[in-house]
Each structure stands twice: as structure tokens, then as C-alpha cells.
């Protein structure tokens, strides 16, 4: 059976999502925890481990230092293996597994829910769209050290109108070869649905005016930050951070909109189109189609590309 896992993490302490032999990764931490809880040996020489390795398949493979406020992955387990999570708990096995995982995982990973996946669900290939947000504190923002782990500080004035003009050029089906790390054997053509820069409005943390009267009202912590929202069917490697870097170079006046347009027109990776720092980036959402279209979507995407 297939389990859908919804989760969040602070990417600051991880070498990205994807498991690597000696580095701390999100996938590595969760797979290790699953093996412990479900008592599946990780030793590859064991016949049981070979029979049922617990391998996570993820919707958005985040890079080193990139966060997720809402990530989705799936794992296949046999009902017998899953039943080992229950122990003395009087709850369904997915609930028991959720609780045990939450208890065993480090505080920079949070498991939101674990549910039996509907038929045809594939965390990666069934996904319709991914939403990323990049947060920046520029010279017009108040810099709040509490949020420095997920907001990039740029001590400069940014021209938001110019940055939005650049962002608008990315919308539609394009080859993002200038703004992505090459993927041998894969494509860098992606369909960007939404891409815009906005200043987060300065709002009070609590709407209830009566409670405070004329007094100072604490603003929401993100008030006044600059943020980039981008939605696409999928993203090539380093694509969001490279686009943000391109927009910021336009925003500070270091590069022109013509430069940005030429990079979009001629897909060619070079030094000037590399990625910006990872800490400002968060994967915020994965959109899936209705349950009866999950399998068809996965089949179509599998045929179309290998990410």
C-alpha cells in the first residue's frame, strides 16, 4: 500500500532533500526513522531489506538550505510492515506512524499528516503545480533577526516594477536553460503559470481593534518584506533561485531588462545567471488533481519528462 506524507522542514540544517551517503538530508532522516519504527533492516545484505526498502518519492526535491512549509512525498509499505507502528496504541496504523515519526524526528522536520494514498497517487508525477515563495528584507523592510533563517537580507533599494517586468517574461512555456543547472538527458522546458513580486502588507498580528484601542498594535512578523511567488508545473534544478537572482540583479540596476530578456530568449547557463542564496526560499504548496485524475496525470508526466 502507498502512504501520502505531508510535512514541513527548516532546510537550514540539511544538505537538501535527496539522500546522500554521509550528509544530513531530509529524506535520509525520515527514511532512517521509518526503518527504525517499522523495524525494516537498512543493511542491504539482508534479504528483508532488499524485499522492501522504504524509499520516499517526493514532489519537490529541494536543494541544500531550502525550506518547505508544505512538502508532499509517498512511500510504499506492506500492511504487515505498517502494522508494526501500532504497538499498544488504540489508533489506526497511519495515525500511530504519524505520532511515532513526530516523536523520533528532529525539531527541524514536522510531519503534518500521513494518510493512505488514493489509487493512482504519485507524489512526484501526479502533481499539477508547485508554489515557491522567496522572502527578502531590503532597505524598505524592517530586518527581524528572528526570521533570518528564512528571509534573505539585501541592504539595497530594489526596483519592484522592474523586477515584475522581468518576472512577467518567465510566464508561459519556456526553455529555462539560462536559469537552471543542466540536467543531462533531461529538459529545462517548464510551464510557469504565475510569477510576481509583491511587498507583504503591513498588517497587525491581530485584527481585533477593540482589544487594543488606540494603542500600538504589534505587526505581523512578515510585514513589509518583499516576496516573490512563482507557480509552475515543475521546476528545473536551481531554477527558482536563479530566476530570483536575475530579478534582483535587475532590481538593483546591475542588469537591464534587455539582459533578462536575452537570457530568456537564448537558454545558456553562465556565471551571471547562477542561483541566489538558498535561505530565502520555501516550497509552499503542491497542487494535485482530483483523485480520479491522479493516475492519468502521473502517466502523462512520466512520458513527458525525466526530471
Amino acid at each position: 500500500m502507498r502512504l501520502r506524507i505531508d510535512l514541513a522542514y527548516d532546510g537550514g540544517g540539511f544538505y537538501g532533500w535527496a539522500k546522500q551517503p554521509t550528509l544530513r538530508t531530509v529524506q535520509g532522516e525520515i527514511e532512517d526513522a521509518l526503518h527504525k519504527i517499522l523495524r525494516v533492516p537498512t543493511d542491504p545484505t539482508s534479504s528483508e531489506a532488499q524485499a522492501e526498502p522504504l524509499r520516499l518519492v517526493v514532489a519537490g526535491r529541494t536543494d541544500t538550505g531550502v525550506h518547505a512549509s508544505h512538502q508532499v512525498c509517498h512511500v510504499d509499505v506492506t500492511p504487515d510492515t505498517l502494522a508494526r507502528a501500532v504497538g499498544h496504541m488504540d489508533v489506526p496504523p497511519t495515525v500511530a506512524l504519524t505520532r511515532r515519526l513526530q516523536r523520533i524526528l528532529p525539531p527541524d522536520i514536522t510531519i503534518r499528516t500521513i494518510t493512505p494514498a488514493p489509487d493512482g497517487f504519485d507524489a512526484r508525477f501526479s502533481a499539477l503545480e508547485r508554489t515557491y515563495v522567496y522572502r527578502i528584507a531590503d532597505r524598505s523592510s524592517e530586518v527581524d533577526p528572528r526570521m533570518r533563517g528564512f528571509v534573505l537580507h539585501i541592504d539595497d533599494d530594489l526596483d519592484i516594477a522592474a523586477m515584475n517586468a522581468a518576472a512577467a517574461m518567465t510566464i508561459g512555456l519556456h526553455d529555462f536553460g539560462s536559469f537552471a543547472t543542466p540536467n543531462p538527458g533531461g529538459t529545462t522546458i517548464r510551464d510557469v503559470k504565475i510569477a510576481y513580486w509583491r511587498r507583504i502588507p503591513v498588517r497587525p498580528l491581530i485584527d481585533d481593534v477593540d482589544a487594543m484601542g488606540e494603542r500600538y498594535r504589534t505587526p505581523a512578523a512578515e510585514s513589509g518584506l518583499l516576496c516573490f511567488t512563482i507557480v509552475a508545473d515543475a521546476f528545473a534544478r536551481n531554477m527558482v533561485r536563479s530566476l530570483v537572482n536575475g530579478c534582483v540583479q535587475v532590481g538593483v540596476g546591475k542588469r537591464s531588462l534587455d539582459w533578462f530578456a536575452s537570457k530568456m530568449a537564448t537558454p545558456l547557463r553562465e556565471g551571471s545567471t547562477g542561483p541566489i542564496a538558498p535561505q530565502g526560499l520555501t516550497l509552499e504548496h503542491i497542487q494535485y488533481p482530483p483523485n480520479d485524475q491522479l493516475a492519468a496525470r502521473a502517466e502523462a508526466i512520466r512520458a513527458k519528462r525525466t526530471l
Copy 2:
């Protein structure tokens, strides 16, 4: 001359505000940086150091692990000493000092502004009110690991109505001896103006509906958290965290409202009224009177109490 310094810090890496010989503190970091920039020797045997020690006076002396999104302090310097900040910069000395401090200080402290203080200004004694906010992720909130440094996770259901009934008992002039670390020679009588619990509304990060249409809209990061706002003339040591702990004990059903009322009625510190974890607490605001009342306020408060 007196300088007013407005600043923010992530308290997670500090043993509180107040300077201590061998521990990392906010005051210690800033005073050390000021001594370096203004070339004032810290060696107490130097006659110059004795003549002009750079000592910060702060509005809200935060404890170990407590944050400030907006703290205020002051320091007295001679114009000659301040002039050393300018160097080759073509800006007023307070602007030069702001820039140099920002450059030299670690990333968990942010200097917002440094300005010549108006006549009669005393960061501590002129203050009218202090605002603190305590943030909690309970079972009704989404736990976001990116914010775990300034939000306390309580894996329980909290009865907000009961917690507000407790909070309401604190409003007015009371002896908070049950909810404060004793201060030999000082009083624990304080005047609480505002105290309430609210759930932070779930709001989209960006208001602009047109930009996203019917698509998923990323929520503001603090959406759905539970927060306690308290405003008082001043706070006794550990008072906010002890009140939060009392309210939370009522909220989870471990203690009754009668218990809370009895602790308010009979000021006596004991184990059950100790402070909750510091990481959820942030000093958000210091309110000062109009400039022409700064000196009178400071004089009145100095006469009334020694914190």
C-alpha cells in the same frame, strides 16, 4: 550627549540582555562593538575608560532566550568620541555609527536606528508602557519548523476562553508576587493595561487576489498561531513567562480559574507559578510619552521604583 538606539535581536543565542562577565549577552556584544568603533579602551585601569565607560541603559531587560523585535536603549557619549565613528564617511556621526555597528555586530542583532535622544530621554525610566507577545503552536495550529526559534510548540488543545478569563484577572494594578522572581528591595506591583489571548487569523501572505486568481494562496507564516499580548507600565522579573505558564496550565485543564485567582489574590512565588520556556516570548514595543514629558516621566518613575 545621549544617543537613543532602536534595535532587534534573536534571543536564542544570548544569556539575556544584561552583561555578564563570561557569557554571551546582547548588552555585552553591543558595548564591546561600541568600544571598538569609538576606540574607547575597555581596560578598567585605563584612565580614559574610567572617564567614559560606554554603558547601555535598556527599556526592557530580557531574560535568556527571550527575543526583541523592537527594543530601545540609550548610551551617553561625548561629541568627540562619537565623531570617531565618521572616518571617511560623508554622513552625520549617528548614521556613521549605525552603519559601523550593523557591520560589526553578529547577525542575531540588528540595529534599526541611532538618533540623538531628545532632552530628558531615559530609555528605561521615560518609558510609559512595554508590549510583549508570546506565540504558541498548539494542536489547532500548523507547526512550522522555520519558526521554532520564536514559537513554542504545545502538543495539546488549549481552552482559549478559559485562558482569557485568567488573563482578564491580571488587568489593573496588582502585586504579581506569585508570578515573578522576587526582587529584594524592589516591588512586584505592576499596572497591566492589556492582556489577552487570540488566534492569529489565517490570512494570505499577499492581499492581491487578482495576481493568483482561484489558485492556492500562500498563507502568512504566523497564520493560526495562538498568541498572548500583554501591555503594562513595566514587568517584574519573569512576569510575562510566569503569567503565560499560569494561563497555559488553565488552558490545558491542569489548573482551575480559582487557582489562578488565588495566585493573583495572594502573592507568593512557588513551583506551580514558574516561567514557561523563553523561546515563544518577544518584546515588541516600548511606548514613550511626547518629548516634553520625557523628563517628568523619568523623574516620577525613578522615585517610584527600582526595578
